[in-house]
Structures are given as structure tokens and as C-alpha cells.
Amino acid sequence: MRYLPHTQEEIEKMMARIGVSDFEELFPTVPQDCRYQGDMEIPGPLTEWDLDVHMEDIRAKMKVGPKYKVLIGAGSYHHNIPAIVPYLTSRSEFLTAYTPYQPEMAQGTLQGVFEYQTLTARLLGVDVANASMYDGASALAEALLMTLRLGKKKKRVAVSRAIHPHYRQVIAAYFQPTEFEIVELPFNEDGRTDLSSLTRNEEFAGVALQSPNFFGVVEDVESAASMVQDCGALLVSGFSEPLAFGLYKSPGSQGADIVCGEGQSFGIARSFGGPALGMFGCKDAFVRSMPGRLVGETVDLDGNRGFVLTLATREQHIRREKATSNICSNQGINTITAAMYMAALGGTGIRKLARLNYDKAEYLKASLVEAGGELVFSSPTFNEFVVGFADDFSKKQRVLRDEKIIAGLELGRYYPEFANKYLFCVTETTPKAVLDRVVEEVKK
């Protein structure tokens, strides 16, 4: 087996040195009744070439392949990934290193993560960003738990119903064993969260919304922040499409206390939903309550700049049951990936790309409305929006699918009141001709 370097001669030599005569004698402390009986019934071993064949069989079962134009985002977006990103992230000095516990021999990871934290903080408009959470959903759940740590005696949080339904499910799972209560906030006809039920009774530790929200609608974060903070709560602003902040004001600059969400759009393949990237940032004042690792700048013995993991006393390996979270492994290499992507795009490029996404989505939105579609929400959107159709669109969706176009996500299974309403996503990867073809089918 090519991964196992030992020759029989070496094994015998080592056993002689240890004083055992076979492998069995290496396990004297494993009781007989704990032993694995028989052989593990799994396939293999496959050669590299047989593995290729087997995996090709599995891939062949995917009806929707890379040639499809998938006009669905909903938390997982198709953006172009420049060749340099996978090329550089696959450098094994990054990829095969552990968490940088020995900073002198991990300065590459550490500086890379410090740069990620900085670019992320600038993107989200927050003072500080951590070295990542698992994904947008767990980041949101952890953010709400953080508001409860900061809110001391408070027991409730409020969560907008316009947040990605899967994210809300994750929040519910994280909260299930706790004594805390989740109150759901409805959304208005314009697709924005209705905060009117928040009163000045100061009962909520945190209020979470998502912007752009699940319907693609950009929330009025500025008003929300002042309303929420007037009630004595913290505003958590989530997101699933960070490219929006290349065009729209960042949530932090509009007053959100914690900003967190999914960073998959930045150079990370969709890969059936993971591994992705939980981005997480907050105001300086809250940093000691923040979950997750942090990299900080310092100097070495000679006074030269260097980077280390810091403020680790918040974390599980030191504070154990009193830690701010149980998170240990995070999304590591994907922080470097996202930073590379942000660096390659640059300030000028992200503006241009965000504008392109916006214009294309607006084009399809306007064309569908012109073709008879009903725009469900009037508020501004970024690269996603919801359109309803008078007649059953699913048949037309099927026709388009045969032409390798996946035209939108039906919302009835997530919001029963929105049956036959479709969430569309348009990014830079969809040519105008494809958009026109969808419109043509709608007109039929």
C-alpha cells in the first residue's frame, strides 16, 4: 500500500526492539470483548485508476453538471473562480499544516489569516473579524448565543422570518437544550423584516436579520440598528452573499453590532454546500465575548513583526466549559482562499463585479415582470429576487432544465404562502442569452 512505508523487514526489526513478536502483542490492554470480530466489510483497496473509474460512476449520476446554468443561489452561489486561487490554496505548506500553535513555523498561515480578518472587517464594516466559523448558519447561531452572553440576564432573542430557512433551523437546533427562547419576526409586504413588535421592554438580548435576506431583499439595516439598540438589544446582521457589500453599504457601517454570514461566494466552490466559510465580525467592545480563533500582530525577540493566535483565554482549550464556544477546527484554508479572492479582485474589481451582478439580476427581474411575472417584493435587491407566475411555472422550468437551465427555486416548501413563487439568482456567470431564453419561455 503506497501510503504505508514499512517493509516487512523493518516491521520485524521494530518489533524486536519493542519486544513483541506480532501485531497482536501491541494491544495487550484491549480486552477481548472490546475487539473487532472479523474483517470490516468495506470495499477496496482500489488502485488510483480504479478509484477514478468508481468516482466517475458516481459523478455520472449527477443530472445537473457543471454545464448547467443554475439560476439558484439561496446560500450557495456560482461565481467565477480565478485559476490562481485553487492553484495557490493547494500549496501543501498551507493545506497540510495544522492549526498554527507553533507560530514561528506557521507565519504563512498566521499572516494569511490576519489578512483575511482585516479584509473581512473592512468588507463587513466591523472593527474586528475572527478566523472563521463553520458556515453562515452556525455563525448566526453563535452570534445569537453571544448576544445572550453580553445581555447577561436576558433570555430571549428575535429572529427574522426572512432569514434563510436552513439557518433558522440551525439556530433552533443550537437553542434546543438551552433555557433561551427564540421569537420569530414577520416580514412586511415589501420583503423587509417587520420590527414593529419590538418594544422598549428590553427583553431581547439580540435581534437577527439577514441582508440581503433570503428573498434577496436588502434590509434597512441602519433603521433596524437604531430600533434594536433603542430596545437595549444588539443587532446581528447576517448574510449569505457577501459580494453585495461591494455595492451596498456594509452592515457594520450602518450600526450592526455583530455581522456574520456565509463567505462561499469568495473563491470557494459550491461543492454541495460545503466546506464553505462562516464569516464573523463585531464591534471592538464585544471582542472578549466573541467565539472562534483570532490572530493578532506582535513582535519577535528582535522586534520584527510577526503573528500569533491570541486572546485564546476565550477558547475551549483554556476556558473549557466556560469558553465562548466549543469551536476548535474552523474553516482554515477557506479563509486563505477568500482572502486570495478578495486580494485578486481588489477594491476596484469588487465594485465592478458587484455592479455586474446587480445589473444582470435587474435585467432578468425587469424582463420577467414585462413578460407577465409578478414581482413579489418591491424593495431593492442585489443578485436574487422573487417572482410569481399566474400559471404553473413548473412545466416551463422542466423545459428549461432540458436545455441545461435551472430556472429558479420554488418557495412553497419553505414558505407555504409562496407556492408557485420562485427565487431567482443571477451572477456574472450567466450570459444575457440564457436570461433571454428564460424570459422567452415565460412568455409562451
Partner: protein
Amino acid sequence: MKDAPGTSGLILEEPLLWEKGKKGRNGMSVSASDVPAAALPEDLVGDGPDFPDLSEVDVVRHYTRLSQWNFGVDTGTYPLGSCTMKYNPKVNEKQAATPVIAAAHPMLDDELCQGTLELIYKLEKHLAIITGMDHVSAQPAAGAHGELAGMLIIDAYHRSRNSKRTKILMPDTAHGTNPASAALCGYKPVKIESGKRGILEVEDIRQLMDEETAGIMITNPNTLGLFEENIREIAAIVHEKGGLVYADGANMNAIMGIVDLKKCGVDVLHLNLHKTFSTPHGGGGPGAGPVCVVSELEKFLPYPRISFDGSEYSRDYNRPESIGRIHAFHGNFGVLVRAYSYILTMGAENLRMASQLAVLNACYLKVQLKDYLHLAYNRPCMHEVVFSDKRQLEHKITTLDIAKRLMDCGYHPPTIYFPLVVSGAIMIEPTESECLDDLDRFVAVVRRITMEAMEQPELLTNAPQRFKVKRLDETRAARQPCLCG
């Protein structure tokens, strides 16, 4: 040191991203628009983030130089205890990166993504067989996420029986994630002191376990590298009081095909695919932490469950007793592809052989080093062995000094100062990937360093000297945090 691989090389300086670049450069193509410009909602539009503008060459050189300041498994021996830094096969990377896998959208109907569903389904089956457990969910995104899933399952189980439990038993050798995960479910950890033998003693469990205790969290082999040989009796006591046995599978690399965890009495187990199943650690992640359970607890596993009716794979959401969803989609799917690819490449026999060789390597290092470093517990070790700096302290040399000197000699240091029960711990896990020649070279270097500790201690206390930076001021980093440039 002539026998060590460490030497000095050319290290290039590289500034921070925003200290280079020029406005107007660009490192990524953005297509010209093929649609008309739309009106903008001006009140919501901002200035865009303050990112530097860099050329493609700027970015490539930047990250290439950064990578050269790093050390990975592909660079050299990485005997970091409890982390299983085994070789990460390249063929796994290739499979995860194929366009079909990379482009798979997680929100499509089941019929459109049969391949990815099949892969998860089969991986879960294989992991069940390897561990001896009945059912597996691959949704958790990391070890600690698997622990959280496991604790939520234990909480849901007790809730379903109307049993209110407030505590959980926790050996003092546990990883910090264990008490932190238990605390997320409101359980107060009750510390179990390690016995004289470094393992859990039945009598201690008998005294501590009661009907207000949800169960016990055990790492087996434990973080001292010792097999918890009383696990069956301990499990029986815990079960008798209505509790459940949670096993942290961080050290699964010692026991594949050798130990059946269900037979040990384990009810819930998590695995670390980035340890045992060879997926790369990526400088901290992503990992994957599948949670494995016995049949009785299957109904509590996270949804959606992947099921197979003989012809079609589907996602089952109708799981009324499930703990719910813990990841936005299907967990770290790309990591699952790599682990699946590893398991098929290895097959049953090689997986067992990997565990045998991992233990053989650790036992070999134990006998080769025990006359040079203090051995914390002189008992049969599994895949890792814990020493300490007790002897070197006589010369005012600490574990940290030894670790830093090892770096100059071209090795990643072992895990240090963990487990907490061993003062100045040096926890070595060679994994099966190191061949005898490499082990012998490592042994020679460690022995030499213990000599240096007596004869030339400044070589240790001033180490490392051969890296881009010398020892870093962690106190300054924490006192005046600079977390953002």
C-alpha cells in the same frame, strides 16, 4: 546538527497585502456587462470595501512567499499528539476538485443530485462498519461540531424519557472541546481524576454516576495514549443509572479494525475525518466530524437523513425526533469526498494495518526515547506516547525550549503542555506515515537535544533561529490586541 533535516534557506520578506499594490491594478478578470446598466437605490449604495488593488503576479508571489514560511505534513515529520498528522493523499484532492463535485448545488431536488447523495450514504455506511456503530450522520463540520451533535442527541434522548439530567462525567484528560460542548447543552462537567495508571477506574465511576448525570464523555484511547481498558464495566455502570456513553473518536487512528466501539458500550461517537481519514488540516480546517450512534438513538440524528430505497437516494426531512439541522447544507461535503476516496483506496486490510503501524511507530519511539525523556506513564501505549520535561527541568530547560529546538532541527514539535494532568507534557504521535529511517532520524535528534540541554542549553533557550521570526511576544499580542491591520 548534521543528522537533522533542518538547515537554513533563503526566506523572502513579504509585506501585508495592503502595504503593496497600486490603485488601478487588477488580479482577476471581470467581464464587460452584456446588459444595460440599471438604476441604483442610491440611499443604500456604499463606497465598497477598502481593498488594495493588486496584479495577478502580486497575488501569486504574495501567497507563494507566505507558504514558504509554513511547515506541513508534506514538508516533514509532524508528530503532533492527538492530531494525527498523517499523509494527506493527493488523489483525494483530485476527486474533491472534479468539476461535477465542485459545481454541485445543495438546494437542488434529490433526482438531480443522486451522485452526491450516494456518496454521503455510502460513506456513512462505511464509517458505521469501521467503528462498529449502527448509524452515522456526516453532517457535523468538525470534531467539536460532532461533539455538539452528540450532546444534543444525548439531551434529546433524556428529554424523550422525561428525564432531567444536569451533569456529565468528564475525565481530567479530556480535550477542552468536551466540556465546552457539554456546556452548550447545559450539562455541568463533573471531573474524574485520572487514576495512578492514567486510565479511568471503575470504582470512581461507580461513586460519581447517579441519576442526575446524563452520561460520560470518554476519549479512547485517551489523551495519554492509553486504552481505557475498563470501558465495558464503566459503560455498564453508566447504563444502569440511565446514562449514555459518549466517545470522542479523536484517537480512532489507533483502533481501526481492532476495537469495536459498540461492543465497548459506546452509544454515541464522533470521528475526525481530518485526523483518522487523511483529509488535510488546512492550517486549522475545514474538518468533518461525523456522529455515529447505536440503533436506539438513530431517530435523533440530524436531518436531512440520506436514505436509499434500492433505486433512488433521497433526503428525509420527516424526522420528528431529530435534533434538527446543524449545518446550512450537508456538512463539509468536499471533506467527505476525500475521506470516502481514502477509505476505498485503503480497503479494510490496509485501514487495520494503518492502525497497527501507527501503534508500532509510537511504541518504537517510546522504547527509543524513554531513557532520554521522562515517560509520564510506563504502560503499553497505543498510537501516541506522552513524555515530560521532568529531567530537563533540572537544567532549567522546559518543554517549550525542547519544542523550539526541534523546529531548528527540521521537525514540527509534538503537542506540548497537554494533557493537563502531565506537567510539561510532550505528546508524540508519529502516525503510520513515518518510515523507520525517519523515526530513527527523529530519535537521534531528540536524544541529541537532551544532551544539548545539559551541555549547550542556549541552543534550546534561544531557539528557533532558522525561521523568519524568532520567539514571538504573545504577552504583547494579548495585552494590546492588534487583530486588524
